[in-house]
Symmetry: C2
Subunit: 355 residues, 2 copies
Amino acid sequence: MSARQRINKIYSQMKKQAIDSLLISLPANIAYLTTYPSRDSWLLLAKGKNIYITDSRYAAEAKNSLSRIFSIRQAGAALTETLASLAKELGIKKLGIEQKHISAYAYQKMACGLTGIAEVIPVIDIVEPLREIKSPQEIEKIKKATRIASAALRFIKRHIAAGAKEIEIAGEIERFIRHKGAEGPSFDIIVASGPNSSYPHHKTSHRKIAKNDLVLIDMGVEYCGYKSDLTRVFFLGKINPLVRKVYDIVAEAQKVAIKSIKPGIMTNEVDMAARQYIAGKGYGGLFSHSLGHGVGLEIHESPRLSPRENRRIRKGMVFTIEPAIYIPGEFGIRIEDMVVVTQKGVKVLSGSLNK
Amino acid sequence: MSARQRINKIYSQMKKQAIDSLLISLPANIAYLTTYPSRDSWLLLAKGKNIYITDSRYAAEAKNSLSRIFSIRQAGAALTETLASLAKELGIKKLGIEQKHISAYAYQKMACGLTGIAEVIPVIDIVEPLREIKSPQEIEKIKKATRIASAALRFIKRHIAAGAKEIEIAGEIERFIRHKGAEGPSFDIIVASGPNSSYPHHKTSHRKIAKNDLVLIDMGVEYCGYKSDLTRVFFLGKINPLVRKVYDIVAEAQKVAIKSIKPGIMTNEVDMAARQYIAGKGYGGLFSHSLGHGVGLEIHESPRLSPRENRRIRKGMVFTIEPAIYIPGEFGIRIEDMVVVTQKGVKVLSGSLNK
């Protein structure tokens, strides 16, 4: 879909919600609608005018990159004043604001600043549902991001050795992915060695990897704005029997979950498939987070695969499947792949990467 | 200051604002008060109870790391319900919320969820003013972060060559800083070559550096949660006379600004010192952003040095001084150092790094 097609879909939504204008503030939503990686900007859609509001640092770059359907307005710090002027110029009466993506402070300031000019109306999830279903072009970008991450995990295997620090391993990965064309990591790379792996979201530390450690690496890259997210566990030396057993359970739970996916089933059914398998093996309490999350322009986006969310899975959705078991203070195993939902089932995007 | 001393200062502030409890949501504010790098957490201060609210992914790690003056409560997604229970348990009646650091959506949800239990009261800038003045221990961490960034800029000089891509240069820097003990970059490293340097905040691209380019690098690192931020311009081959002239003006503007700093003067006076120097040389319209910003647990924090902000400069403040001139479509020069305000003037933290 072109920027124009995406914008037109939003105008239809706006009509349904009886607003004559919409201020978009979430960077990923702006990036989606403009097909341009937005930073420190706002997008105002109003009566067919599509106004990209930014400050002096970005105006020249945006002008060179944005499609001609957008005009650019420099605002600096004074966003409310800029909005008030635009509302008068364009005759805006009902301005929708992304309530989830603006601070309570900024919302109040805007509502006050527009008093007597336009009514401010909170809206939620107006762009996000569109972003759930990826187009073939978007899937290509996500595939490329996944390929670079897979290559990084293959590459790093050779660098993991007793004595290396976790942060050094992260540094090697960062260098590698940039040389492979990634714009950068899609989130802070997690390198969790030995007992650190028992923390689901360990902060990569100065700890030196020890002999016979396991090393869990959770990483992804950004490519043309699109993200990837993969986790693998590497073993130094001999694998202890409990670790092996837990590893096999997590790997099997992932297979069970992946097999259950097809268009039409609910996100919590997929989560339950993995969760029940792990519980059946006696480790129920130790899989303490949800099974997966959508990935695209944001590293965590809709749909979420958790016991609490029942959203229908549809063709073109892209999400992670990452079952795990954490033995407190001892070790943790998480295996994470990315899948895209197809007509009949699912394709594992990181399929060629050994587990 | 210990976590306990910092928390006590906040309790005094709360008393002044007539609230019996405060929910802190900005990660940097939580990190400051707990002296622990917080992620996906909330901190509730209420009647001497200091409750760190997080989810299952972080609970074990937080328990091992937080001072004993904090207790931990797991909340998962249901923050409002957790708050409602805590409000009942502790008899909370007036709950302050950081209005700038919570979404309009979450604020409304909390206000509704606490109806009949406690009143929700918006507060602003309750922790931030404390964070403006750095303690000697904080300055040591910032110094270390600055030393690593300086070393990275010295190191990368040898790697900048025609044919290398901007993102590859960024990758080399990332690897280097991790090996030097940084937790990571403090923001997306900017490598802007040739005409890309004319964009004040260029997004590092696949562009290959050309013969006779200039290359602007803006980068910093995180060390124990504290950030650094430096910019240098490197030249390949012969420097054209206009570039040399602009460079000298920017370097001199920085000197003029740094000389003007001492406790008691206002932030906009410092900004004006550099701005007027540049304007006097005929490049007034081409220095399009503010002169500097505070750096600490956040990469941009108070105080801001801009024409619009008149905050009094005090001993212990740490901020950047980064004058610039951008010739649209041609090239840009920005030179950025970090300074700490002393009793009588200022110390340049990156002083040993050549310009």
